[in-house]
Symmetry: C2
Subunit: 333 residues, 2 copies
């Protein structure tokens, strides 16, 4: 078994998400550089994901909701059905990111039909969730409850992006009103933009960790995590503590720049926890005109400076270790 090497797991796929299913396959999705589709691939081995056949299971609309910025899809298997959660904006309002849901009509997500279930719905009485720039939803279960965790800005595109948490009533609707899990508190979460995003859940010895990414999408991008006891009320502010410093950040010597937006899965031994994340292998992002939508009216000079259109965020992997206090260690190698 090869858990990892320093070479990318999958090239040019950002916001990587891996689900190891009960059929023994790793299912992989992520943001494609053109931000115009949702792609799936699967493999019995992690290394096999790199060259596995990719299937485009959904394309963006021409206009209206879900017509721009198809970002950070995750595939989840809930109550016997496959779902994909992703964020999208629209041509008429390109920063109006909202979370959307797809459902697979069959059991083979690479080949069966997918249908749109629409936008994720807030709980009754919640007039705040999904009303502003919101993205990066993930789903997890704890003590018999299912949770939805996402990033949202309140106050427009240049406000702080916080992480919110709520219980789910169904795959398409929340049960509880939003709870703010974390806001950018420390310097390392506030570089260029104030950002907490890309939540991912890891459990170990009675503790639950929600890793997240912080700051803008450049070499300053980095990771921290929130920590709680599995038996505490996850919607109680006092249940959580936060890492004072980043736990994963740019490593110039290893040529890992802006690591973040991770997910967790397990190695082929079904025991070793793995962190799948993305990073660039050079410091200054360079926008690639060929992946920019034709509807983008900016000059070439502006596009070249836009890190969002640098296609070279590669999915990478390392094994998570635990320290003497049972806290995860995020060590690049």
């Amino acid at each position: 078994m090869t858990i990892q090497t320093n070479s990318p797991l999958v090239e040019q796929r950002a916001d990587p998400f891996v689900h190891k299913h009960n059929d023994g396959f790793y299912y992989f999705t992520g943001s494609v550089p053109t931000y115009d589709r949702i792609e799936l691939r699967k493999s019995k081995t992690l290394a096999g994901l790199k060259d596995a056949e990719t299937v485009d299971i959904w394309f963006k609309h021409e206009s209206g909701p879900m017509s721009r910025h198809i970002w950070a899809p995750e595939i989840h298997y809930l109550d016997g059905k496959w779902y994909i959660y992703f964020a999208a904006s629209e041509e008429g309002d390109i920063w109006a990111l909202r979370p959307y849901v797809l459902e697979c009509k069959g059991q083979d997500p690479l080949n069966d039909e997918w249908v749109e279930l629409g936008m994720m719905q807030a709980a009754e009485g919640d007039d705040k969730s999904f009303t502003d720039f919101s993205l990066d939803a993930t789903i997890f279960e704890n003590n018999g409850k299912r949770y939805f965790c996402w990033a949202e800005k309140t106050g427009g595109q240049f406000a702080a992006s916080n992480l919110y948490l709520a219980e789910m009533e169904s795959p398409i609707k929340l049960k509880t009103v939003q709870f703010m899990l974390t806001t950018p508190d420390y310097d390392w979460e506030r570089v260029d933009f104030w950002v907490n995003e890309g939540p991912a859940v890891l459990k170990h010895n009675g503790k639950i960790f929600i890793a997240f990414s912080a700051s803008a999408t450049g070499a300053c991008y980095c990771m921290g995590y929130m920590e709680a006891d599995e038996n505490d009320d996850l919607l109680d502010r006092n249940s959580w503590t936060k890492t004072r410093m980043p736990v994963l950040e740019t490593d110039v010597d290893k040529k890992i720049f802006g690591p973040g937006h991770n997910c967790f899965t397990v190695a082929e031994d079904d025991v070793t926890p793995l962190c799948i994340y993305h990073a660039r292998d050079y410091e200054d992002a360079v926008g690639e005109p060929s992946v920019v939508p034709k509807t983008d009216t900016r000059s070439l000079a502006e596009i070249i400076k836009d890190p969002l259109y640098d296609p070279n965020r590669h999915a990478r992997v390392f094994a998570v270790k635990y320290d003497e206090n049972d806290r995860p260690v995020f060590e690049l190698y």
Copy 2:
């Protein structure tokens, strides 16, 4: 010494603030029902504040900044000078609340000249503080550092009102970028509006408590507190815990409705900690047309339903006790 009775300390003064000075006098200010001026009074005894002579030391402008909603003044003595901090909006934008500062040119705050120092200034590099609905600033010192704590909404009038904390560089400017101390997390902070406001600081046996008020300005108004160790970094999210339930709320039997927006001072024995707060003695607020500005164009029917123009929030007092864990107990009597 009479610490308190159930009768009001000062009638028709909301957001009460008391500073016990080194001259032995209690200095009292608060929001007056017309929201058009800043008033001061002083007394050697707390009971004497009720009928002490009041001096109007400042009046609102006719238009522009500081022309409407003169709210929650506090008087502080910093580095040998008197300052008043208050919130105000303007006739042209009545919810554009911002914090302003007055400085006294002499040592007698009731008789000497006051000058306007302008709006409180955010730290270099902080483009978020005082840019939206912000009010209720208080000032305190801890371990040789001076702090500014205030309420601000990010995202307009109907967003959540959070509490923020920062170190001060001078009486008119912050030294550090804002840190979010608390956001409305629990049900009792989210009634009608999501509100944390009215911070007030209390210290006891190495602990620092920041009490605050929560929910809308009706009978649902109530109080909780944040708690930290005095020696911890007060700008670190992990230093603080929050009361899971309110510590002071409406008591129908005692005819105390919507208690909150408190300050702390000390009794005439210079030892007993006192909580000065406001409350109504009936449940449903009734707007009083005579205190409403002439520029308000609403109908009489609307004004009568507006709790902001019910003048009967009276300043009240009780002695704070401590439980076996050295935590403050807020008990009405």
